[in-house]
């Protein structure tokens, strides 16, 4: 994406689920340093990594049931994954600015580990567009970075299978962030000096994939495998070719620049090796000590795989709304605050360096006590300008139990509204304001290939994937947000004998929007007693799949629906209000509904709230805990009341005001349902999750 006339924005989000199930630390570490190399190797290469994001799905760390053979406890997986992300991000000097953790016991077979990295790259290197990949015959193939060992052999193929007790831990690589940091520093300088013609990373499939892909650009390549440096002797040629040993890039270098590149590499203590050259022969020609090792027609390699035909059949589940009689709302709110999907992730957030580079504007936790959770991260791009980006994620797998379409649409809306909450403005194709938006879609689904014995509900699973895609199409085209990248992980099952643990179909939307002036960013926490609190958007009787129902172990039927036209109108009004500096706080309403959002907004320090929700006829539980989309809690200065009501009209409802005491009071119509100390809610929220 174009940032301005000087720079482009690059990003990619990947999953590293299977490796993290077997070796949580190594799997997650390699996940994050692996995805770093995607922006590093985009176009010519040399992008400067800007931030990491990590979204994780685990079984409950408090899981007490039996473990299958070869299966690790969810707590052990979580601790290892978090440590891997900590080392991968912190040691690389890349701030981990955004993420979330979703808990569901169906993730205890395979956890989901989504790792994303963004980078900024100059628009041009020595006058050449930086994003282009050009290769001519006789250009040299240069491998740079780590050496090749037996680690990670078959990593890519094993990841595409279900896991069982025989899955090889040796398929997981262990990354070295410092080796890669040197490589990254080197690439920035080499690209700036015009020494790289283009680059790509060695990830899944190693050289076979990186050279195999690049060879298609000019029509052939010769690789001399014996020229590649090894960690230790004894590797077979095929092992050298497909090993996924980490920290390696493949560069395309014009023959006359090889000498200068090698000299610069010595300064950075980066090992580089000339392992072959490109051709236009139409063949991928792999040699080992002058003997042929493989000779494959490129056209066959890239286009000969037969297309798979799969069957899908959608049937709506038969569900109904439960009756929950006379709930104690104080107690429910307290339980929700300590619920794993709602509670503070501080113990994880703080082991990630989220501030290195000194550009963080909205951090995951803010306020005078550093406790108020924020909706999207905001980061400036430069030290001498206020241009920045807002970064969000949307992921709500539990809605898929009712309708995968609404789950996908709702996740998309969640990502959009988080960016709106922090002060982003929707894409406007008619107005060339230079604001870009981008979304990465990452699907993680169970095996969806129908088999009457092994996978009897395969057609239904595939239908869920189809519905998730339909929602993605509808939402992305409606909001004009380009899908710049994405990936799928299709076999998220753990199987032993007749027992199979499959993940619920899950989609993560990772979103970025440019902000022209990060000083206009809005945070979620209330600022001052006396400010007026509004609900923006409308609450519906949509408790289906809610965290409220989860407390009673029921799913319900009324899943939140995205009303796209309403959402767009509301988001434009939010931007208009922020343009006039009217919003003192804005917090998007998601897991746990309105009551949880109100409590979280009061975690900024020394504020509480006194609320009266007008009766809209949907019932007290739905008023408090429905998770209807496209809603915000906002607070404004008392003197802004007229202006705010004029902008929002019937899209806002006055709820009450910020008070100075340690207290949250919520009445629905005239009935007082919640009256609690904020400090008690904060303690329950803060202390629920330890590592």
């Amino acid at each position: 994406m174009k940032i301005d006339d000087d720079n482009v924005f690059i990003w990619k989000v990947e999953t590293h689920n299977s490796p993290s199930a077997l070796d949580p630390y190594g799997g997650a570490l390699t996940g994050i340093v692996g995805v770093n190399r995607d922006p590093m190797g985009t176009g010519i290469g040399g992008g400067r990594c800007l931030f990491n994001t990590d979204v994780l799905c685990f079984g409950s760390p408090y899981y007490k049931g039996a473990l299958l053979e070869g299966q690790l406890h969810p707590r052990r997986i979580m601790a290892g994954v978090v440590k891997g992300i900590e080392d991968g991000g912190n040691k690389s000097g890349i701030p981990t600015i955004n993420g979330s953790i979703v808990f569901d016991d169906r993730f205890r077979g395979k956890p989901l580990v989504y790792c994303g990295t963004a980078a900024v790259m100059p628009m041009k290197y020595k006058g050449r567009p930086s994003w282009e990949k050009k290769i001519d015959p006789e250009d040299r193939i240069i491998m740079a970075g780590g050496r090749i060992g037996k680690d990670g052999i078959h990593g890519a193929t094993f990841s595409s299978l279900e896991i069982d007790e025989h899955s090889p831990r040796s398929a997981v690589q262990i990354g070295s962030p410092i080796t890669q940091k040197n490589l990254s520093d080197f690439m920035q300088k080499a690209a700036g000096f015009g020494l790289l013609k283009c680059s790509t990373d060695n990830g899944a499939g190693g050289l076979s994939s990186s050279v195999g892909e690049l060879a298609e650009i000019c029509g052939g390549a010769v690789v001399e495998l014996d020229k590649a440096p090894l960690k230790y002797p004894g590797l077979q040629p095929w092992e050298i070719f497909i090993s996924e040993s980490q920290e390696r890039m493949t560069f395309v270098v014009e023959p006359e620049k090889v000498g200068e590149l090698f000299a610069m590499a010595r300064d950075f203590e980066v090992e580089v090796s000339d392992i072959g050259y490109f051709t236009d022969s139409g063949y991928l020609d792999i040699r080992y000590k002058d003997e042929p090792a493989a000779y494959l027609e490129l056209d066959f390699l890239h286009h000969a795989v037969p297309k798979k035909t799969m069957s899908a059949e959608w049937k709506s589940p038969q569900l109904k709304e439960p009756q929950i009689v006379d709930p104690d709302f104080n107690n429910i709110l307290l339980q929700l605050m300590g619920h794993l999907n709602i509670c503070s992730k501080e113990n994880v957030i703080r082991v990630y360096d989220h501030e290195v580079k000194g550009k963080s504007i909205i951090k995951p936790l803010m306020g005078s006590e550093g406790q108020a959770p924020q909706d999207a991260a905001v980061m400036r791009l430069y030290h001498d300008a206020y241009t920045g980006v807002a970064v969000s994620n949307g992921i709500i797998p539990r809605y898929g139990d009712i309708d995968p379409y609404e789950m996908s649409a709702g996740s998309f809306d969640e990502a959009v509204r988080q960016i709106i909450a922090v002060g982003g403005t929707l894409p406007d194709p008619d107005n060339h304001d230079g604001i870009f938006w981008t979304v990465n879609d990452n699907f993680c689904v169970p095996d969806s290939l129908y088999d009457p014995v092994k996978n009897p509900d395969g057609k239904l699973k595939l239908a869920k994937l189809v519905r998730m895609n339909e929602a993605l199409f509808d939402m992305a085209t409606f909001f004009n947000i380009p899908m710049t990248s994405g990936k799928d992980s299709m076999k998220n099952d753990f199987k032993i004998g007749d027992i199979k643990i499959s993940v619920p179909p899950t989609i993560l939307y990772s979103m970025v929007a440019k902000m022209n002036d990060v000083r206009r960013a809005v945070t979620s926490d209330f600022k001052k007693a006396g400010d007026i609190i509004y609900l923006v958007g409308k609450s519906y009787n949509e408790l289906g799949g809610s965290e409220f129902y989860a407390l009673f172990n029921v799913t319900g039927a009324n899943v939140p629906r995205v009303r796209k036209e309403d959402a767009k109108r509301i988001y434009r009004k939010m931007s208009e209000a922020n343009e006039h500096s009217l919003l003192q706080s804005a917090h998007d309403i998601s897991d746990g509904g309105l009551a949880v959002a109100l409590a979280e907004s009061a975690f900024g320090g020394n504020t509480g709230c006194s609320i009266r929700i007008p009766d809209s006829g949907i019932g007290a539980a739905a008023e408090l805990f429905s998770e209807s989309h496209s809603r915000f809690i906002v607070s404004i200065k008392p003197e802004s009341e007229d202006k705010v009501e004029k902008i929002f009209g019937s899209d806002c409802t006055r709820l009450g005001e910020v008070i100075s005491g340690d207290r949250i009071r919520i009445r629905v119509a005239d009935e007082e349902l919640v009256d609690m100390r904020i400090s008690i809610l904060l303690a329950a929220w803060r202390d629920a999750l330890s590592l």
Binding site: E355, G358, H383, K527, K528
Partner: protein
């Protein structure tokens, strides 16, 4: 100002150092000319620290900190032969005797301590204290409050207006441990414990999380007796802008005309002004 008349600040990088960009930005905002240089350029003597007025060791994870924070980096400085055959530490000693200044933040501070530059009470460049694992046993990114010690000898902290400062810490090994009582006494007697962790009411803090690592003397930063070398665990270069602070929206609400500069920038302004005054 013409570039050749500007104060020149050198920021070293390489081998896992990762805060060089914001460190250089800090000096530029403070009115100096900042240059980022890979350490191998210094070791190969393509440039020399003697061309600069201030030498900076930024934060990061040099060599991965795998055998203790900054240990490998400190040894490299002490024992690595440069092209001319001199060790880098000899260059540093010469730099200091020329009356110049050195700053180390986080991993840079750890390196200064482990190569004997801080506190260097005996003046023999032998290690007297160490920085080791936080009492919490983990890396943490959180904002802390620090008190500036009165009458301390560091020109980085000379601004009489600023007696305390909020900054982020981002480390796993920031706990100061002092070798013996004599060294501790000398640190206190000479006001070398220049920055200490404090609670929200600006009282010295020895308990977590106000003191994030369990540091002896609640120490957040040290300087040498001559005031030439300054090191600290918190990151002043991460608070160059008001908008870096975790409570900036409320600060702005309370004081609409508040400066858009972050308090961390004051340290860099202080040293740049000091060097300017000395050059006049």
């Amino acid at each position: 100002m013409k570039r050749e008349n500007m104060i020149r600040s050198l920021v070293v990088t390489g081998f896992g150092i990762n805060c060089e960009e914001e460190m250089a930005a800090a000096y530029r905002k403070a009115g100096a000319d900042a240059v980022i240089l890979h350490l191998n350029d210094l070791f190969e003597e393509r440039d020399s620290i003697h061309h600069y007025d201030i030498l900076n060791f930024p934060g990061g994870f040099s060599f991965g900190d795998d055998i203790g924070s900054a240990k490998v980096l400190a040894n490299k400085f002490k024992f690595r032969k440069m092209r001319s055959g001199n060790c880098f530490i000899d260059d540093i000693k010469e730099f200091l005797s020329a009356g110049k200044y050195i700053m180390g933040v986080c991993n840079g501070f750890q390196a200064l301590v482990k190569m004997g530059l801080l506190p260097n009470i005996a003046g023999n460049f032998e290690q007297e204290v160490t920085l080791t694992h936080n009492d919490s046993g983990k890396f943490e990114d959180r904002w802390v409050r620090c008190l500036i010690t009165a009458e301390n000898p560091s020109p980085f902290l000379s601004d009489p207006e600023i007696r305390h400062i909020e900054l982020p810490v981002r480390h796993g090994e920031g706990k100061l441990v002092i070798r013996d009582k004599d060294i501790e006494r000398a640190i206190l007697d000479n006001n070398l414990n220049v920055m200490t962790y404090a609670d929200p009411r600006n009282r010295p803090a020895s308990t977590y999380p106000d003191n994030p690592n369990g540091s002896q003397l609640n120490c957040a930063g040290l300087c040498d007796p001559a005031g030439r070398v300054f090191g600290l665990m918190p990151h002043p270069e991460a608070y160059l802008s008001l908008y870096n602070h975790p409570d900036w929206p409320k600060k702005k609400r309370e004081l609409p005309d508040i400066s858009e500069e972050g308090e961390g920038l004051s340290l860099f302004r202080n040293i740049v002004e000091k060097v300017k005054a000395e050059k006049k």
